[in-house]
Symmetry: D2
Subunit: 415 residues, 4 copies
Amino acid sequence: MATQAEASAGAPLAARFEAVRALSLAIAAPLSDADATIQPMPDASPAKWHLAHTTWFFETFVLRDHVPGYELFAERWAFLFNSYYEAEGERHARPRRGMLSRPSLDEVKAYRAAVDKALLAAVPDLPLHVLDLVELGLNHEQQHQELMLMDMLATFAANPLLPATWKSPPRQPTPLPGAVNWIPGKTDVHGIGHDGRGFAFDCEGPRHEVLLRPHALAERLVANGEWIEFIGDGGYTRADLWLSDAWAWVRENGVEAPLYWMRDEEGWQRFGLDGVTPVSLAEPVCHISYYEADAFARWAGARLPTEAEWEVAAASVDPCGGNQLDSAGAVRPIGGDSLFGDVWQWTMSAYLPHPGFRAAEGAVGEYNGKFMSGQMVLKGASCATPRGHSRASYRNFFYPHQRWMFSGLRLAKDL
Amino acid sequence: MATQAEASAGAPLAARFEAVRALSLAIAAPLSDADATIQPMPDASPAKWHLAHTTWFFETFVLRDHVPGYELFAERWAFLFNSYYEAEGERHARPRRGMLSRPSLDEVKAYRAAVDKALLAAVPDLPLHVLDLVELGLNHEQQHQELMLMDMLATFAANPLLPATWKSPPRQPTPLPGAVNWIPGKTDVHGIGHDGRGFAFDCEGPRHEVLLRPHALAERLVANGEWIEFIGDGGYTRADLWLSDAWAWVRENGVEAPLYWMRDEEGWQRFGLDGVTPVSLAEPVCHISYYEADAFARWAGARLPTEAEWEVAAASVDPCGGNQLDSAGAVRPIGGDSLFGDVWQWTMSAYLPHPGFRAAEGAVGEYNGKFMSGQMVLKGASCATPRGHSRASYRNFFYPHQRWMFSGLRLAKDL
Amino acid sequence: MATQAEASAGAPLAARFEAVRALSLAIAAPLSDADATIQPMPDASPAKWHLAHTTWFFETFVLRDHVPGYELFAERWAFLFNSYYEAEGERHARPRRGMLSRPSLDEVKAYRAAVDKALLAAVPDLPLHVLDLVELGLNHEQQHQELMLMDMLATFAANPLLPATWKSPPRQPTPLPGAVNWIPGKTDVHGIGHDGRGFAFDCEGPRHEVLLRPHALAERLVANGEWIEFIGDGGYTRADLWLSDAWAWVRENGVEAPLYWMRDEEGWQRFGLDGVTPVSLAEPVCHISYYEADAFARWAGARLPTEAEWEVAAASVDPCGGNQLDSAGAVRPIGGDSLFGDVWQWTMSAYLPHPGFRAAEGAVGEYNGKFMSGQMVLKGASCATPRGHSRASYRNFFYPHQRWMFSGLRLAKDL
Amino acid sequence: MATQAEASAGAPLAARFEAVRALSLAIAAPLSDADATIQPMPDASPAKWHLAHTTWFFETFVLRDHVPGYELFAERWAFLFNSYYEAEGERHARPRRGMLSRPSLDEVKAYRAAVDKALLAAVPDLPLHVLDLVELGLNHEQQHQELMLMDMLATFAANPLLPATWKSPPRQPTPLPGAVNWIPGKTDVHGIGHDGRGFAFDCEGPRHEVLLRPHALAERLVANGEWIEFIGDGGYTRADLWLSDAWAWVRENGVEAPLYWMRDEEGWQRFGLDGVTPVSLAEPVCHISYYEADAFARWAGARLPTEAEWEVAAASVDPCGGNQLDSAGAVRPIGGDSLFGDVWQWTMSAYLPHPGFRAAEGAVGEYNGKFMSGQMVLKGASCATPRGHSRASYRNFFYPHQRWMFSGLRLAKDL
């Protein structure tokens, strides 16, 4: 049976629009107005803000710019819900997004409904290049669906009561997986980057050739049980395992385990959208920074894959496979066979432009290009990525110290 | 007709308990769960937190300690709602009070109802020294009523939409008041400090003698119109008018007017609980720091009163007079004849122990004494002070840079 | 035999000028150009800067303003060596004073010599009110002599090699002093503040009456041995002993002993201008903050004196007595009978204007008045205070957390 | 005529050792003890520290580890002069290197002399793998020679007197160069990285193949005159030209020109080791960050070269050509034909390991590998690079916001 996302991928745009917009509301459904308003750190945004910002995107770049006679739902909200588009003017400071108790969650839902109605009414008459903006808006909203799940987790983790967002059925304990199988990768010259067929973000292209050296990728992700061995072997206390910036980060922040892990008398616990549960040895490790991934790989005598190695390996893999997001709920890594799903995988490649990349003109051109500094590429998809959203050429990116996303690692080695 | 506060002052404890507790809820009534949850700055607390903390105070120091068999409403909330009592153990960090979307506002109201019910049932059997704790709790809650109004204003001021909490009827513009009348003060030796009759906070005593020199106090508070003259005369740009710490504060923070003032093409506007309205020339200036009060006084060729000068002058004045808080609403200074009301008045006296002061034993002893460092005394009462709460010996105190409270000034001079 | 300072106090101004100027050079004599250039923290200034700034004071307020035809030694140095006089224009930022490797120490000494020569030549013709500025300059320089000793100590303490500035003969260990004798103080109305006879800083006046309650002062200063008992009794770990601001300071800075104390296997050591030596039990404790003094007094069941109590007691004491600075060398508290000397004594009085105080007009009026915010008064004199500089009405002042000066405490109690 | 560096490159190790060590002293010769002691910012180190640290390197890794019976010059100096080698134990904090007025500059020179003598005596008996450490030490010292020049400039720039280190003969004004000539680069597969013949730093290898796309490099560096056009065209005020991190950096730091540029009534001036002189239009722009280089390239409709493009182009170029450091003096970009010299050239490549890179074991293995995070590669050499030190495979690296080094740019474009 096809999942919701698979079904909708080939569906008419209007139906897909409705499905994507509905999923955002379903994710936010367990939240009170207060839950959806507060901001636990500058990197994270309130759920209400995500719901409004994704709506502002459609309202601004489709309705305002291309639907004659459209009147803004609320003149001053553009100031509140523009994220970072300099070309769209001044905006509310990112670290102060948690100050917006007004408009209320219900008002934001009314905003969504009004924009949805206007957009669905307009779709039949929109020219093709504007339908492309709708498509962009849908993919943009899917990104914010994952961000919303990340930020909800960060929000509840900031509350000493550690409330669960969704109840989960208890899981059977699974044994620590056996030794890693190494899958040799392709060598010589191959193409990577998006070829322009179907939707992709600007930063995924142009398609270009890369040269691969003999190497192998681990058949599976690094598991929690292995991470506990790393900790037990002094992983967080040995300077020689860490990059210089990484070691400074470990010491300044007192890092000694993945984010959301806590040790009590019964061992390691972790907090997730389903509350506090014991760390399961077999599950892929999650919520780790690039710094930690790099140190673990060094400890394990291996390295991280390059973006190109990963992408060439993924070229023949169904990007809709694995543990990805089909519906709202307490997402969590499980571990499986697919290259996609469970956790985003840190690569050793910096997020820099593909050869020949040029940002588009205008506000939409700010989409990805201007973040090409200081960040590293992650590939694949996570349990919080809407199924159908990712693909082999997809380039996720974060700063090396960040770890509130669903991030893990797959080892690689030279042959 | 007696106001609510005047009426309740002489009423039986149970009736006063119900009246005070009801006023807190009335103040919070216009707030959504989200409004009551967010925290605009570390100095301010969410309204929900105030509602819960004042309840925790009664639950802990009365019910838990003195009512056999009482069971805590929620075991882990003590961690959340203890403010600063070291003797009561670890507590949630003050700058993170805005992270508590759970418990919800409704749950906190249920907490209030449960504690109120248990306390009212217990009152008839409580010994006198425990009834003193109830009395302390009521005065404590009145302080938080004023804090709640201050913090609500700070919260909405952090929202670019600048929402009004209560609608107010429009006011008639009033002319700038005429020149100040100077009222000579008493000289020689007089007693100040609380004499132990009726309730007072620990820091108000012991009563002791002070020596007064020839001086006079202004008959009225400094008005907005005078403050605009100060601004027009370069008040915020002349280093010679400011204390050294004050000048550094002005420059680092770009201060150029009282808090919540904004200049637009029509002149000075100010934001209050009734939204944005023009600055009224006749109204007492409000939301100024000690640094600003001191600079203004220097500019005016005068000085601030000492605590003793003010308190001796107030000894024969009814502390329930003037513009104080009778019921929930958009409080705002008006200007009047009383020494009390409208705005708290900065003095030039540091908040230090009265001679012979000793803090009480135990957690309650942390009430006031430990803050006797780095703060200045304010006297009187403001439009946000529950009528009946203040008195001549009352010692309000803030750091010299703070100004989110309803603070203003009355000039003094040597004779 | 009269000490240098005593002798010079009554000497003609020119002779006193030469003596004071010579002492500054003697204090700086052990310093290399590099020693005299670096700045260990924003509060402290390089020795070279002190030598130049005190010279700038004479050059600016005497020679430039009152000696026709005088040409500045170096036009641009005023920018470097103005400390905080806003009326004298922009100046080099205080935390960057350690960046001035040029001018060199030798050039600064040449500056001193040139200004000294010009000033001595001018003195015979200066009118009385300008001679008052010379007198002010001398007292100003004496203050900087003590600051120079404090800052030199802070400078060498920042060097892991902990170099000694001067060699000291070894001291005989002295036993812990016995129990404190309490000396009852005067009561009722007394005058304090400077009466205008002889030199005093502006902030010491006007003279005015104060009311004293029954009290007693300890006959001696608190000793190191007592401080070690305080530490042993958990003094730095018990929140109930500390003011709220103080406790936050202890925790943020990991404070657990006086400044410059270190514990090794042989017990407590302290670093001074004579290098590292064991803490001597009988010597007065030194390098403590107001926060620590206040906590110790609370632990000891006593309190700090008020400024008025101390000053009335000192009225009949020779201010030139005790362990004060007679010549350059490794100053160090000893412990003795005088109210003056060894260490400045924290009082519980805020540094606020005496009744009737008005700052003088012009740049010199910035001398003391603008610092009357947030600081506490210390009385007496220290082993680093030039003998003859202090008096009963002298008001030293520091922020409650500062402790790089030679500060200690004398207990007081109510009777 | 062969330069000093060219001559010494083929010279016996002992002679080269003496030449390199002598150049360090020559660079520091104009400095007083104080000049050599202060530290203008955490990124920069005092000249004295450079002189001592390079000596510590030889003393530790050669004499201590490989010369039996060698006794350390001063036991405790290792703590002071270890830079970042975790394996060598705790060390003085980097931002506090400016606190070391002791040891003096003369003592550090004596340390150099003693270590030089011991090392030269030992060289004849050292095994080959230890001679490799001497070679490493020499290249290490050459790096510090350039750092010393950078840090001296930063040090004097922090002094409002802006002293010149060396006098320079006045230069003839040169006209703005004409339009750029574009030199097409090689395409297809080429080798880069060091091949192991002769000295190279660990991070330069292994040699490996890269794939080049059609592109061209500008024949010359970007000149100051072009940068002034960029400024005049609003370069520093247009968000669309900047990466997101870059724009935040521009705004937070108020950046509006290259480092050390100042505008006065006569136009742009720049501060260098020869003091303040007018910006020369024809000279290569210097002291710019990656953020600025990237923004300029975008403004110019071009891009930065990749490391591989640059290195392949440089394979056939003499790395000892161009304006590089031959002797101590006021180094300054001139502009010329060579790919090497004048300024280091920012590339668009992140500083990440070459394929197959593995750090060496032990402390020396910390040399380069642990910095492979967050930095960008610069290629070539600057006017402050000792001639003979750099080569095509050389990888210099800095954080994208840094600009106190001699950094500029050469444009590239796709064909």
